[in-house]
């Protein structure tokens, strides 16, 4: 699944959006992976991610849905796909450094601005070989898409579970004073089942929508 690819937005906004993922290959290194994934998840948790999660049990276990990092770590199995979201490059660098030093031997993927992530890797002497997923954008009947400002929020759930209609509805509720911007961002993040939605970035994007409409 390319669920952390195709996150839309401008450079400034994407500079606050980094997603880590760790998993074992089903064919090659699945047996006994749980312990290694737990070690990685502990490193993720140490650096205070804004969201974290694992949905491999068939249940959405994410920080945004109220699970603590400890609960997420405890429930990790060989088949887990562990995610963590950060909002700045300096923290990303610290996580990368610790992962490199721990030398756990499990696949780790970072989604973010290529230049920024490569630069962070270089600074902590991670030299690959790197495999990448590039996003070439959207083709087809693009008139069916919502406005870009909405898309920047909804594409943070690559499984498409965050509804454009919910974003618009919550913006209206904020305007009426029925909920705060933070509460709206949390409600949006709850719909993502694997913990890759970035509620901190959603808060900023919702504020931008509200400021534009003033």
């Amino acid at each position: 699944m390319t669920h952390t690819l195709h996150r839309s937005g401008g450079k400034k906004s994407l500079e606050g959006d980094y997603v880590f993922l760790a998993m074992a290959s089903r064919e090659y290194n699945l047996n006994g992976a749980a312990q290694k994934l737990k070690e990685i998840a502990k490193i993720f948790a140490k650096y205070n991610p804004v969201n974290m999660g694992d949905m491999s049990s068939g249940q959405p276990v994410t920080m945004a849905r109220g699970a603590s990092p400890e609960k997420i770590i405890n429930e990790i199995s060989d088949r887990s796909i562990v995610h963590a979201v950060y909002t700045d490059k300096e923290t990303v660098k610290k996580v990368l450094k610790e992962l490199k030093e721990a030398d756990i031997g499990m696949s780790v993927v970072v989604s973010g601005i290529f230049d920024e992530v490569f630069c962070a890797c270089k600074e902590v002497s991670i030299s690959g070989p790197f495999s990448v997923d590039l996003s070439l954008g959207i083709m087809g009947k693009t008139q069916l898409l919502p406005k870009e400002e909405i898309l920047d929020i909804t594409t943070m759930c690559g499984h498409g579970l965050v509804s454009r209609h919910l974003v618009a509805h919550l913006v209206e509720k904020i305007k009426k004073g029925e909920i705060t911007v933070d509460e709206a961002a949390k409600e949006l993040a709850k719909q993502c089942v694997c913990g890759v939605f970035n509620p901190a970035r959603a808060t900023k994007l919702l504020r931008e929508i509200l400021n534009k409409e003033k």
Binding site: M1, T2, H3, L5, H6, L14, D17, M23, A24, S25, R26, E27, Y28, N29, M55, G58, Q59, P60, L99, I104, G105, M106, S107, V108, V109, V110, S111, G112, F118, C121, I126, G128, P129, F130, S131, V132, D133, L134, S135, L136, G137, I138, M139, G140, L144, L145, P146, L151, T154, T155, H159, G160, L161, V162, S163, H165, H169, L170, V193, C194
Partner: protein
């Protein structure tokens, strides 16, 4: 998904949670349009309904494909991975699925958030099959296809609607411009959108972009990077 009319109190709390707008309100009654619904489960999981009126009926073939492709909590029997795709680049440091000089092409039909009937997936697969592409064998869409023609083995699946479905295949890097041309053409004939991705391996730390540029396409500034930290698996 269905709404139990006896339980529903017509509060409308569920209305905005549906990613594809399948929840409708007519003549004072809320209902779920069964043609539009992709069985993703968001309406139930949101807990928006406080009286438990939304429920999942038993899904039979071919409708069950809607939930298999739309609800990421379900694990595909063909891929052994939750979600709609495969491990693709995520474990490439261990599997070497993609090697230098190869492009894995990942076409997600219906993404972002539009949804698609599987007949549009078939239109794209047929156009690509002409190039004798190597469809990813462990992908759930490939499982449904005749890989020679790109047609669905069971035509009944074509009317099913999903949140998105991923066509995956591997090509040589130099073949990308003709694939890009085919995608540009076929994307004019579909009633949805496609998000297009390429999985590949960096050369000397650089992303190989020459043929992407040759095809007149510009990648986003952001994407996914497999750090290569799984390489040690074989000797640990």
């Amino acid at each position: 998904m269905l709404i139990d009319k006896k339980k529903c109190v017509s509060c409308g709390a569920c209305l905005h949670y549906c990613p594809v707008g399948a929840i409708k309100f007519e003549k004072g009654v809320y209902y779920i349009n069964q043609d539009i619904c992709v069985e993703c489960g968001v309406c139930i999981r949101s807990n928006a309904c406080k009286v438990g009126a939304i429920y999942q009926p038993e899904l039979r073939w071919p409708r069950v494909l809607r939930s298999v492709f739309s609800d990421p909590l379900l694990v595909h029997p063909q891929t052994d991975v939750p979600g709609r795709g495969t491990e693709e680049v995520k474990t490439n440091d261990v599997t070497h699925r993609f090697k230098r000089g190869e492009f894995g092409i990942i076409i997600e039909v219906g993404r972002p958030g539009v949804g698609t009937y599987l007949e549009d997936v078939e239109k794209i697969a047929k156009a690509l099959a002409v190039h004798n592409v190597e469809f990813e064998p462990k992908n759930p869409v490939t499982y449904l296809l005749d890989i020679k023609t790109g047609e669905f083995k069971d035509p009944a699946v074509k009317k099913e609607r999903v949140l998105s479905a991923i066509i995956e295949f591997k090509i040589k890097e130099e073949d990308f411009p003709k694939i890009a041309e085919t995608l540009k053409e076929v994307s004019k004939k579909i009633d949805t959108v496609i998000s297009v991705g390429i999985a590949t391996v960096c050369k000397d730390g650089e992303i190989p972009l020459a043929t992407v540029k040759e095809a007149g396409l510009t990648p986003r500034i952001n994407g996914k990077i497999n750090l290569g930290l799984g390489l040690a698996w074989s000797y640990k």
